[in-house]
């Protein structure tokens, strides 16, 4: 029973991280229907920005966090402006391959600047955050992650629900042409959504870096893990991403614990194929997929 509870807690915490990483991905897809294969690299860039500010520039923790977020925000705007805006209205394969090319470029830059070794942040979280509850031990990083995740989820929930920019973004996601004719500045919305998505991705990358250490190969692998998560949760549902992440995390740890450790990495993709065949719009996605 202890083993089961350990797996359960481990699965939920890993899954929550997956969900958190998937949030930025869903945001980009929701507003501009771009399937972002460079998501893992965006996570990595956030983590490395944070690393640079906190280790090289020796800034205090909170300031480094804010600067890194700002850096990601600007990077998001740049990516949209330089690479994706010329492709509005182009066929799907060009957009997909562009993000694949971007991923290779970012990976090259990161490897060139920081190398492929594992970096770690100095620990700065107070021990008081850790939870001890019988067999369940949650280290402080995870409780901090939970807090940050819930905070961001709430913040963006409110942003999309009530702020005018959020409403523009939702309108563009819903129907680009109608939004355009109602006077929404669609290009600015695209730029903003890439900026916000890069910011969220960067934030997730920092959290992942705090927990597992910063390594570009691991983070870009998580960028691919995002696909089963978002397909399960529904490609355009932010809350679905979190729940999909938790389900995938649980599945992974339980197969790893009870069946075989090597099956662990491929299970999400088997689930992915099944979900696509049975319920392609995911658990919480809009049922607008075209069938042929």
């Amino acid at each position: 029973m202890d083993f089961f509870i350990q797996l359960l807690v481990g699965g939920i915490s890993v899954g929550f991280l997956y969900g958190l990483s998937a949030m930025g991905f869903v945001m980009i897809f929701k507003s501009s229907s771009v399937l972002n294969f460079a998501h893992g690299e965006l996570l990595a860039i956030g983590a490395y920005f944070f690393l640079a500010f906190i280790v090289w520039a020796k800034l205090p923790f909170l300031l480094a966090f804010l600067f890194a977020l700002l850096g990601c925000f600007l990077l998001g705007i740049l990516i949209e402006r330089i690479f994706l805006r010329p492709l509005i209205g182009e066929p799907l394969i060009f957009v997909i391959m562009l993000t694949v090319g971007l991923a290779a470029m970012f990976k090259g830059i990161i490897l060139f600047t920081w190398g492929g070794n594992l970096h770690t942040y100095p620990s700065f979280l107070p021990e008081a955050l850790s939870v001890n509850w019988g067999v369940v031990r949650i280290p402080p990083v995870y409780s901090a992650t939970l807090a940050i995740g819930v905070l961001f989820l709430l913040l963006f929930g409110l942003f999309f629900k009530f702020s005018s920019q959020g409403i523009y973004m939702r309108s563009v996601a819903d129907n680009q042409r109608a939004a355009l004719s109602l006077g929404v500045h669609v290009k600015r919305v695209f730029a903003l959504s890439w900026a916000i998505a890069a910011l969220v991705a960067g934030m997730s990358g920092m959290v992942l870096g705090i927990i597992n250490g910063v390594n570009v190969h691991d983070l870009s692998a998580i960028g691919l893990k995002v696909f089963p998560v978002v397909i399960l949760g529904g490609l355009d549902s932010i809350g679905g991403a979190i729940i999909g992440g938790i389900i995938i995390g649980l599945l992974e740890t339980f197969t790893g614990g009870y069946l075989s450790p090597s099956l662990r990495d491929v299970v999400p993709y088997i689930i992915l194929v099944l979900i696509l065949l049975l319920k392609p719009y995911g658990l919480f996605g809009l049922k607008e997929i075209e069938r042929v």
Binding site: L87, I93, A104, L111, F227, V292
Partner: protein, 356 residues
Amino acid sequence: MRKLRLHPCGNFREFYTQELTVFSTDFGRLWSAVGLMILFTAVPWLASPYMLYVINMVGIAAIAAMGLNILIGFTGQISLGHGAFLGVGAYAAAILASRFHIPFFATIPLAGLITAMVGMVFGIPSGRLKGLYLTIATLAGQFIIEYLLIHWETLTKGTAGITLPPTMLLTFSLQGDLGFYYLIFITLIGMGWIAINLTRTRYGRAFIAIRDNDRAAEGMGIPIFRYKLLSFGISSFYAGCAGALWASYMGSITVEPFNLALSVEYIAMVIIGGLGSIAGSIYGAIFITLLNEALRFMTGLLMNSGMVAASGLNMAPLREFVFGLAIVMFILVEPRGLAELWRIIRSSFRLWPFSY
């Protein structure tokens, strides 16, 4: 003898058959013949062993890229699993040759057929999915095949890999770069000929109809699902043959090279060469293979030159960066690829000095 067709000074086609011709002028026919002559006589004697190795890799890549172009460029189904299919072909050839002692000339088409079947299994999602959902499904296919290749140890020997017996073509042994050069390029030309003619048949036109508008295609009585599966099958057949050639050429295989990066490389070849152009796939294969080799050479040179080595910078990531940059620049600047560039160059020569 019929009248020679030379460059017309305008578009005077009256029949669809004229539109469908492979060579619009007899110059094209002549130059192709000359090119083939040079390819089979001069090139193998002039090239150094290393050059011959690179040329062989170009040939293998071109076969696989043609297959992917039939799937992506003609049928419009984006697949991220082509690298894994290549792996299936390589393993099929290796297992057939080493365990069942099938003669070499039979392993390549058999490996192609096995891969075609596997490809059709992974093409089944295309019955319900399209666009990016299908892309994600093929991505999952890539990971699942990779997992099976590593962990189905009774069949694939896992991470140890398989060593192939020496290749025998009928009675004489086929070894070294030169023998494989002829084998690879005869296969390439045969399969290229099939691919070009495929696009002119009802099957090819059905593929194009599905790419351009699947609903209209279905409305016109094309059974979409069957044709999509067929397209997956044909494309995987090409990948399987390329994989089998790769395995026999290398002599031993492991799972390592057949990862997602290889799939991405093949899509890059198809895009850089030109979507929907069989000749373009060959240009793309040449471009990417040469780029890889040039970057490997450059980084090796930079790493060994005193100044860079002293500064301690690692130049290897530069390869990844340049590779990504090439894809991005082609998509942004010339999305129709090298085939289109070549057409522009040709027509500007043809129309000179009135090239407007």
